[in-house]
C-alpha cells in the first residue's frame, strides 16, 4: 500500500481523510502545518500528497511548488472548498495530478486516490 500525506489546516478534515484512506490499507500522515509537511516530503518523501489550498501561512499551490522542488515525481491531489479556475490551472501547471472540490465523499476520494496512484 502507499505512503500518503494529508495537509489541511482544519485538523478534523485531515483526520477524516486519513481514516478513510487508512481503511484502504494506506499509511497516512496528517499535517496542519505547511512547513512540517514540506519538511516531511523533503526528508522522507511520499507516494502521494493531498493538499488543501486555503492554509494558514502559505497557499496549497505554494506548498505544491515547494514539494515539487524537492520531489519532482511526487503525485499530488489538490482538495479545496474554495475552487477557482486560476488555482486549478496553476496547480495543474505545477504538476498536480488532480484538482478536487469539496465536499468529497468516501467513494470519490478513494477512486481519485486509486486513479492517481495507478497513473
Amino acid at each position: 500500500m502507499s505512503d500518503i500525506i494529508v495537509l489541511d489546516d482544519v485538523i478534523d478534515a485531515g483526520v477524516l481523510v486519513k481514516r478513510i484512506l487508512e481503511r484502504q490499507g494506506h499509511h497516512v500522515t496528517a499535517f496542519t502545518d505547511e512547513e512540517e509537511a514540506i519538511a516531511h516530503i523533503r526528508d522522507k518523501g511520499a507516494d502521494l500528497a493531498i493538499l488543501d489550498i486555503k492554509l494558514r501561512r502559505m497557499t496549497g499551490v505554494e506548498v505544491l511548488e515547494e514539494m515539487k522542488k524537492h520531489r519532482p515525481d511526487l503525485r499530488v491531489i489538490m482538495l479545496t472548498g474554495y475552487p477557482t479556475l486560476e488555482t486549478a490551472r496553476e496547480s495543474l501547471r505545477l504538476g498536480a495530478n488532480e484538482y478536487c472540490v469539496k465536499p468529497i465523499d468516501k467513494d470519490e476520494l478513494e477512486s481519485k486516490v486509486r486513479e492517481v496512484l495507478g497513473a
Binding site: L85, Y99, V101, P103
Partner: protein
C-alpha cells in the same frame, strides 16, 4: 440561506399554509421551466459534441454558463419548496458546476511582450510565432538551406491589439451567433468581424517596432511579403490556404498589410475551418511573418512524398524505368517511359514503396497554384539519392538541375523534421532558390480511404486527374464561382470551375468535388485529403454539361472516373467533421461531457439517488426535478389541505397518475374520494390526454400480467411501475389548463396545454427526452413522433435525443382533438425506442398509424 428563508418557512407552516402552498407551487412552476431550459441546453451541447451542429467554442461556453445559471436556479427553487431537506445539494451543485466550468474554459491569452522578434529568435517557439515562422527559423538555425531572413509580429501582439481595442467582447458576441449550417449569416458575421479588425488602432509601441523592423529588413525599401503564421496553422490541422498573405508591401505600408493579415483570421473559410477542427478563437492567435519578397521566375510546391500519386508514376518508380526528359533527349519533354538504369535505387521496388517526390510549378508567384485557380506543371522524381526524373510535364519552366536541386533541398528538410514535407519555394531569374515554407504534408496522417466496388455502374466521365483520393456518392450541384459559394445541402457532389480555398467552408457537406482547374498542390486539395473528400480535376469545362445538376453520381477519385448512380455497397461514411474535431482540440468537450451531460442518477427509487452522487449538471437537473415533483405532490397529499389535495386516478389503463387540482379541475363528484376516475376530470386538456391514452387498448394489452412487476418494470420503460407515488406520473390541472408529467423512461414526457374558449391563447407544448432504448432506437422513436405530429399540425424540433413539439393557437375543439392524438401517440410509442431498428420501419409505422387514426371507423 438560509436563516431568513427557514424562518419564513416556519412562519408560513404555522400561520399560513395556503400562502406556503402558493409559494411552493410558484417555485415548482419556475423550476419546471428551468428544467425545460436545462434539458434544451444539454441537448444542444450534446449535438455539438456529436458533430450534428458546428458552432464556435464561445457558444459552448455560453451554453454551459447559462446551464449553470439555470441549474443553480433549480437548486434555489427546490430549497424554496422545502428549506429543511437536501441541505448539501447546493454544495454538490457548485462543485459539479465548477468541474464543468473548468473543463470548458479557455485560459486567458498572454498579452505580454515581446511583440516583434527577429526570425533568429523564434526557432522552436510555435506558441510565440506560429509553426510556419518557427519552422523556418529552425531551418535557418540548423541548416544552410536558403531561407530568407525576416521577423515576426508575435501571437501575444495579436492578443494585445484585441485587448487594446476592446474587441474581445464584440468578437465573442458575433462568434456566439455562428452556425456553420447557416452560410449567409456566417458571411455577414465574418464581414462584421473583419471590419472590426481592419479598423483597429495599433498600440503605439507595437506600430513603432513594426515599422523599425520593416525598415531594417528592407533598407532599400524593397517590397516585403507579409504572411500569416497563426499559432495553430501547420500544427494538428494545416489551415492550408485558410488565412491571408499580402505580397509586395512597401515598408511604410506595413501597418495596413498587418491589419489585413489579422483580419484574414475572420474570413468565412478560416472561421469554418477553425470551428470544424475544434479550435477556439483565442487558441489560434495570428502571428505574422515578414520577409523580403522573392522576385520569382517560378514558384511552387514540393511534396517529398506525394500524396496519392498516379498509378503510372508508382509503376515507373517500381520498375526502375524513367520517362524521357529534356536532359535525356535534347530537351524534348515526353511522358513515354523508357528503360533506364537507376543506380541510385538499390532495389526498384524499395524506391516505389518509399513513394515519389512531386514538384508542382507555376511561372511567377505561386498564388494561382495555391488558390486553385489554375493548374500546374508537375515533375515526378524518385526519392533515392540521385532523384531520377520519372516524368515531367511539358512547359515546365525549370531545368533538370533545378528539379534535382529542389528535390535535394526538400529531402534535407524531410530529414531535419523527420517526416515528409510540403515545401513552398520560389526561384528567381538568377536561379537562386528560396524556401518560404516547410510543413508536414497535410493529410499524410490520414489513412487512405478504401476502394469501393463500382462494378456495374455506367461511367459518365473518365480520365480525370485524381488530386485527393477516395470514393463519394451524392447529388450534383454546380457553382460558377468558388469565391461566393453559398449553402450546400448535405450529400453534395460539387462541380466547380476551380479549387478555391473557400470551398473548405462547406467541406462537411461534400461527398466529392469535380473541378475544371486546380492542382493537387492547391490548398483546398490539402484540406480535402485531410478530410478524405475525393477530388478530381478534369481540365475541361464540358463537365458542367456532362454532369447536370441533380444527377446522382459516384466519384471514384482512385481511378479518375465519375459513374451514374450509386454502387451496390455504398462508400463507407467519412469521418464527420465532428469526429475530426474529436481527434483535435475538441477533445476538450469530451472531457467536459461527464460533468455536463452524462446522466448517472438513473433510478429514483435507489438510495444512491442523492446529491452526493450527482456527477454532472444533468444529474443535478434530474435530482431537482424528481424531488420537486415528489415535494409538490407528497406534501399536499400528506397534509390534505389547500388546493383540494392530489388524487390518485383509477382508470382503465395501467397508468399510475396523481392529479393536483389547481382550480376547478375536478367535478363535484370527486369530493370526498381518495381515488378518482377520468369521469371526475373537469379539466379539458387532462381529459383529452387520458382519452387518447385509453384509445389504444392494443398498446396496453401487449403487457405481461400485472403481477409480474419486475418484467413490467423492465419492459414498460418506466411509464408505470409499482404502485408508488414516487414512481408515478403526475398532473397539475385546472378546468382549462393541465401540466402533465407522464413518466417515460428516465424522464417525463411533459405536456403543457391551455384549452379554453379563447382560441388565440390556446396551445399545446410537448417535450420528450431520453428513454430506455439504445441511442439509435431513441432517435427512431423521435423520427416517428416528428412525422406523426408534423402531419397533424404540430411544429417539431429535434435536438439530440430531445423532441419539442408545439401546436396552437387553435379552437377548444381542435386543441382537444390534438391532445387526444398526442395521448394515442404516447401510448403507442412507449416501447418504440426498444423495438425500432431502421428509418424505413419508423416511417412506415408512422404512416400506418396516421392512416389508422384517420379512418372513420377508428374515430
Amino acid at each position: 440561506m438560509a436563516f431568513g428563508e427557514l424562518f419564513r418557512h416556519w412562519t408560513y407552516r404555522v400561520f399560513a399554509p395556503g400562502a406556503l402552498l402558493r409559494r411552493k407551487y410558484e417555485a415548482f412552476r419556475e423550476l419546471i421551466q428551468q428544467d425545460g431550459r436545462c434539458l434544451e441546453r444539454i441537448a444542444e451541447i450534446e449535438d455539438i459534441h456529436y458533430g450534428s451542429t458546428h458552432v464556435d467554442w464561445t457558444r459552448v461556453v455560453a451554453q454551459c454558463d447559462a446551464l449553470e445559471t439555470d441549474v443553480m436556479g433549480m437548486v434555489a427553487r427546490l430549497r424554496e419548496m422545502n428549506p429543511l431537506r437536501w441541505m448539501d445539494l447546493a454544495d454538490y451543485a457548485s462543485k459539479v458546476a465548477f468541474y464543468a466550468r473548468m473543463a470548458v474554459s479557455i485560459p486567458e491569452p498572454d498579452l505580454a511582450p515581446p511583440y516583434v522578434l527577429p526570425l533568429s529568435e523564434v526557432a522552436g517557439r510555435p506558441e510565440v510565432a506560429g509553426h510556419k515562422a518557427s519552422r523556418l527559423a529552425e531551418v535557418r538555425q540548423r541548416t544552410m538551406l536558403p531561407v530568407p531572413d525576416g521577423f515576426v509580429v508575435t501571437a501575444s501582439a495579436f492578443h494585445y491589439i484585441i485587448e487594446y481595442n476592446g474587441l474581445r467582447a464584440p468578437l465573442d458576441d458575433l462568434l456566439r451567433q455562428v452556425d456553420l449550417a447557416d452560410g449567409n449569416s456566417l458571411v455577414d458575421l465574418c464581414r462584421t468581424m473583419r471590419e472590426l479588425v481592419l479598423t483597429v488602432e495599433l498600440p503605439p509601441v507595437l506600430e513603432t517596432e513594426l515599422l523599425e523592423a520593416g525598415h531594417a529588413l528592407s533598407p532599400q525599401r524593397a517590397p516585403l511579403a507579409v504572411r500569416s503564421s497563426a499559432v495553430a496553422e501547420d500544427g494538428e490541422a494545416s489551415f492550408a490556404g485558410q488565412h491571408t498573405s499580402v505580397l509586395g508591401v512597401a515598408p511604410a505600408d506595413l501597418p495596413d498589410a498587418y491589419r489585413t493579415v489579422l483580419a484574414g483570421k475572420y474570413t468565412p473559410r478560416a472561421v469554418s475551418y477553425r470551428i470544424i477542427h475544434g479550435f477556439a478563437d483565442t487558441e489560434t492567435p495570428m502571428a505574422v511573418l515578414l520577409m523580403p519578397l522573392v522576385q520569382a521566375k517560378a514558384s511552387g510546391v514540393v511534396y517529398t512524398r506525394a500524396p496519392s500519386p498516379p498509378a503510372r508514376i508508382l509503376s515507373l518508380a517500381a520498375t526502375g524505368r524513367a520517362a524521357k526528359t529534356s536532359e535525356d533527349d535534347n530537351g524534348t519533354p515526353s511522358t513515354t517511359a523508357t528503360p533506364t538504369k537507376a543506380p541510385d535505387a538499390p532495389a526498384a521496388s524499395d524506391d516505389s514503396a518509399a513513394g515519389v517526390i512531386a514538384i508542382h510549378t507555376v511561372g511567377g508567384m505561386g498564388a494561382p497554384l495555391m488558390d486553385g485557380s489554375s493548374g500546374d506543371t508537375t515533375a515526378w522524381l524518385s526519392r533515392g539519392a540521385r532523384h531520377r526524373i520519372l516524368e515531367r510535364a511539358q512547359g515546365l519552366p525549370l531545368t533538370t538541375e533545378d528539379l534535382k536541386r529542389l528535390a535535394r533541398l526538400s529531402m534535407e528538410l524531410e530529414t531535419l523534421f523527420g517526416e515528409p514535407q510540403d515545401v513552398e519555394w520560389a526561384i528567381d531569374e538568377s536561379g537562386r532558390i528560396s524556401i518560404v515554407q516547410s510543413r508536414p504534408v497535410p493529410g499524410a496522417a490520414v489513412a487512405p480511404p478504401p476502394r469501393v466496388d463500382v462494378s456495374g455502374l455506367t461511367p459518365l466521365l473518365e480520365g480525370a486527374d485524381p488530386v485527393a483520393p477516395g470514393t463519394g456518392c451524392g447529388t450534383v450541384v454546380h457553382v460558377l464561382s468558388c469565391a461566393d459559394i453559398g449553402d450546400l445541402p448535405p450529400g453534395t457532389v460539387l462541380v466547380t470551375p476551380c479549387l478555391g480555398p473557400s470551398l473548405a467552408r462547406v467541406l462537411d457537406r461534400m461527398e466529392g468535388v469535380i473541378s475544371v482547374e486546380g492542382s493537387r498542390a492547391s490548398h483546398f486539395a490539402s484540406v480535402a485529403r485531410e478530410s478524405s473528400v475525393p477530388v478530381l480535376v478534369t481540365g475541361d469545362d464540358s463537365v458542367f454539361a456532362t454532369l447536370p445538376v441533380g444527377t446522382l453520381v459516384t466519384v471514384d477519385a482512385h481511378e479518375g472516373v465519375v459513374f451514374a448512380g450509386r454502387p451496390a455497397t455504398p462508400p463507407p461514411r467519412r469521418s464527420s467533421p465532428g469526429a475530426m474535431a474529436l481527434r483535435g482540440p475538441m477533445h476538450r468537450l469530451s472531457r467536459a461531457m461527464p460533468h455536463v451531460a452524462r446522466l448517472t442518477l438513473v433510478d429514483p427509487s435507489s438510495s444512491d439517488f442523492a446529491p452526493a452522487n450527482c456527477r454532472s449538471l444533468h444529474d443535478i437537473v434530474r435530482f431537482c426535478h424528481e424531488m420537486a415533483v415528489r415535494e409538490m405532490f407528497s406534501l399536499v397529499e400528506r397534509d390534505g389541505r389547500g388546493l383540494s389535495g392530489a388524487r390518485k386516478v383509477r382508470g382503465d389503463i395501467p397508468v399510475v397518475m396523481y392529479v393536483l387540482n389547481l382550480d376547478d379541475g375536478f367535478f363535484p363528484s370527486a369530493i370526498g374520494k381518495r381515488e378518482i376516475t377520468p369521469d371526475d376530470f373537469r379539466s379539458l386538456p387532462l381529459w383529452a390526454i387520458w382519452f387518447g391514452l385509453s384509445s389504444e387498448p392494443a398498446a396496453w394489452a401487449a403487457l405481461p400480467p400485472a403481477a409480474d412487476w419486475e418484467e413490467l418494470d423492465r419492459i414498460s420503460a418506466g411509464i408505470f411501475r409499482r404502485d408508488s407515488p414516487q414512481l408515478a406520473s403526475y398532473a397539475v390541472a385546472s378546468s382549462t389548463y393541465a401540466n402533465i408529467m407522464l413518466r417515460f423512461g428516465y424522464h417525463f414526457a411533459v405536456i403543457d396545454s391551455l384549452c379554453a374558449g379563447d382560441t388565440r391563447a390556446n396551445y399545446i407544448q410537448f417535450r420528450l427526452k431520453g428513454g430506455g432504448g439504445h441511442a439509435e432506437g431513441r432517435s427512431l422513436r423521435l423520427r416517428f413522433l416528428s412525422r406523426v405530429l408534423e402531419q397533424s399540425g404540430f411544429s417539431t424540433r429535434i435536438k439530440g435525443d430531445l423532441i419539442d413539439a408545439r401546436h396552437g393557437p387553435g379552437s377548444e375543439a381542435l386543441i382537444q382533438k390534438r391532445l387526444a392524438l398526442l395521448g394515442r401517440v404516447l401510448a403507442v410509442t412507449r416501447l418504440m425506442d426498444i423495438r425500432l431498428s431502421t428509418e424505413e420501419q419508423a416511417d412506415a409505422e408512422a404512416d400506418n398509424f396516421l392512416t389508422r387514426i384517420n379512418t372513420p371507423e377508428d374515430d
